[in-house]
């Protein structure tokens, strides 16, 4: 029973932690602008994230190493500098976008300008990281993220045309603004495949002292947790396709998405949207800030653990403190959170091979994984989708920038 509870908690936290500012905004934009046409991008990204999360947990359980520490040990610090810098910059951008998401949610609920919320949000997150433990953060905030199930409920109650929605599983080009369509496909991949997720997951497994007996828990958490998370993203996409698209509303601002639940929940829809956006983004703020500290500490060989007191891993605590302060500053300066989110998500796909390729090499190394090394299928799926996403991003991102929106 205790093991079953552990699996259930792992799955629930994975589902709750799946949605964040990127997945909410890209799925809403995709549904509003292209109906069901981008369903394939959500499904493809979910399949890839299942493989990558399972691999991260397996690495930690079999070798006792989180991802960044394993890359440093296997390839040396000089090699590690490139993915370290790339992921630090990306994490910083995504962290600022998540802080922006919480600020927008608070702005929607209170009417007080989003800029005024940046410092209190960063301070609240910092206090929780400073005082809290890994388990409290992982379980508490991620479980609150389960509120996002309202999008699935809304999509269900809107009676989607299933055949038409299923047609979206087959990738196709859109005649309507194809540059934007490709850019959104790339952004959906980037939103689901944020590199912080893998290092955070493997660091969490090390914090929770996983060993080879946890491989089953890991597989169940990765497959079921990510699959249900993907269903929530699809819930947002379908709701946007059925509510916003018929009205001709495209999502260029969070204000344009905020009423998408009201046809199903007339008096609670607006508040529910704001609460889900706020909770999902706040959970991601904690995870990303913590991951930035994990990443630096593991790459530079410092002491690290969220379960230690800050005075016992001062440099670790300093990293998340600085990261939160900088991300709040970006929001105070008035950076548009939605544009920042899309930029960060598309850059993620360009940077992803730098993180995935060394990861795959380690996952095939007997020294780390023993008999639990990757199979051919896992290697091919991960490498294939990563490279395809990279090629699409290299084409789509400059096009969107040239397109000027």
């Amino acid at each position: 029973v205790k093991n079953l509870l552990k699996v259930a908690l792992g799955i629930a936290t994975s589902i709750g932690g799946f949605l964040e500012v990127g997945s909410i905004s890209t799925a809403a934009q995709a549904g509003a602008s292209y109906g069901f046409q981008l369903v394939w991008a959500v499904v493809l990204a979910t399949v890839l994230v299942m493989f990558l999360v399972e691999m991260s947990g397996r690495l930690a359980a079999c070798s006792g190493h989180p991802l960044a520490a394993a890359v440093r040990e296997r390839f040396g610090f000089r090699f590690q500098v490139v993915p370290l810098v790339a992921e630090t910059v990306l994490d910083g951008l995504v962290l600022a976008a998540e802080v922006g998401g919480v600020c927008i949610a608070l702005h929607l609920m209170t009417g007080v300008s989003a800029r005024w919320w940046a410092v209190p949000v960063a301070l609240g997150a910092w206090l929780l990281l400073w005082r809290g433990t890994f388990g409290a953060i992982e379980n508490g905030v991620s479980l609150l993220g389960l509120l996002a199930v309202v999008f699935v409920l809304a999509a269900w109650r809107l009676h989607p045309p299933w055949t038409e929605a299923a047609r979206g599983l087959v990738p196709s080009l859109s005649a309507e603004d194809p540059a934007r369509y490709s850019f959104l496909a790339v952004s959906i991949l980037g939103a689901t495949l944020s590199p912080y997720l893998f290092n955070f997951y493997s660091s969490g497994a090390v914090e929770d002292e996983w060993d080879e007996t946890h491989l089953g828990v890991n597989r169940a958490t990765a497959v079921l947790g990510m699959a249900f998370g993907g269903v929530m993203s699809l819930g947002i996409l379908v709701t946007a396709a059925l509510v916003l698209r018929p009205r001709g509303i495209q999502v260029e601002s969070y204000h344009q998405a905020a009423l998408m639940l009201t046809p199903v929940f007339p008096f609670w829809g607006f508040v529910l949207f704001a609460v889900v956006l706020g909770v999902a983004c706040f959970g991601a703020v904690l995870e990303i800030a913590l991951n930035m500290a994990y990443l630096q500490a593991q790459s530079l060989g410092w002491d690290w653990s969220e379960n230690l007191r800050p005075k016992d891993d001062a440099r670790f605590s300093l990293v998340y403190t600085v990261a939160l302060a900088l991300s709040a500053s970006l929001m105070v300066l008035g950076v548009d959170p939605l544009r920042l989110t899309l930029l960060a998500m598309s850059l993620t796909v360009i940077v992803l091979p730098l993180i995935v390729v060394p990861f795959l090499v380690i996952m095939n190394d007997e020294k780390y994984l023993g008999e639990h090394r990757n199979g051919l299928l896992g290697n091919l799926v991960v490498l294939g989708i990563t490279l395809l996403g990279f090629l699409l991003a290299v084409v789509a991102v400059p096009l969107q920038v040239a397109g000027g929106s």
Binding site: G111, H255, L259, T262, A402
Partner: protein, 143 residues
């Protein structure tokens, strides 16, 4: 090898279509019509939701203010395009001006929390949105 070639061809097609859509003034005009119609619909929905007590007034004010600002930006973009898109440019500018003639008083009415004035502007706003959507549909049908 053939799969790789297919992917390369697909990406080239995306690049070609995308570049064409980025550069074509007609495509830029379409994008502007779509965005203006989208903002008109958003403002209309937010204002009617406020009139029905479903959302706070601050949200409705923000939505209509954002719509006003976006329409101003679209107008400036379209003005730069004029001459490259024939009579469609001035016609779209006229649509944007008529939309602004509804949005500006609606923003003012929301600042006064004047529910009656806001309600009276909902219908004309919906008509302006239909006008923009109609222009977009006609452009889509044009060869």
């Amino acid at each position: 090898v053939s799969k790789g070639r297919d992917i390369a061809l697909g990406l080239t097609a995306v690049l070609a279509i995308g570049l064409a859509s980025c550069r074509s003034p007609g495509a830029q005009l379409d994008r502007s019509r779509r965005e203006a119609a989208s903002w008109a619909a958003s403002a209309q929905w937010a204002a009617s939701a406020w009139a029905a007590n479903q959302v706070p007034i601050a949200y409705a004010q923000d939505s209509v203010d954002l719509a006003c600002q976006s329409i101003r930006e679209e107008r400036a973009k379209v003005a730069r395009l004029s001459g490259k898109v024939g009579s469609a440019g001035p016609q779209h500018l006229e649509h944007l001006d008529r939309l602004r003639d509804i949005l500006d008083p609606m923003a003012a009415a929301l600042r006064r929390a004047d529910r009656e004035a806001v309600t009276s502007l909902l219908r004309p706003l919906a008509e302006r949105q239909q006008e923009l959507s109609g222009a977009l549909r006609s452009a889509d049908r044009a060869p």
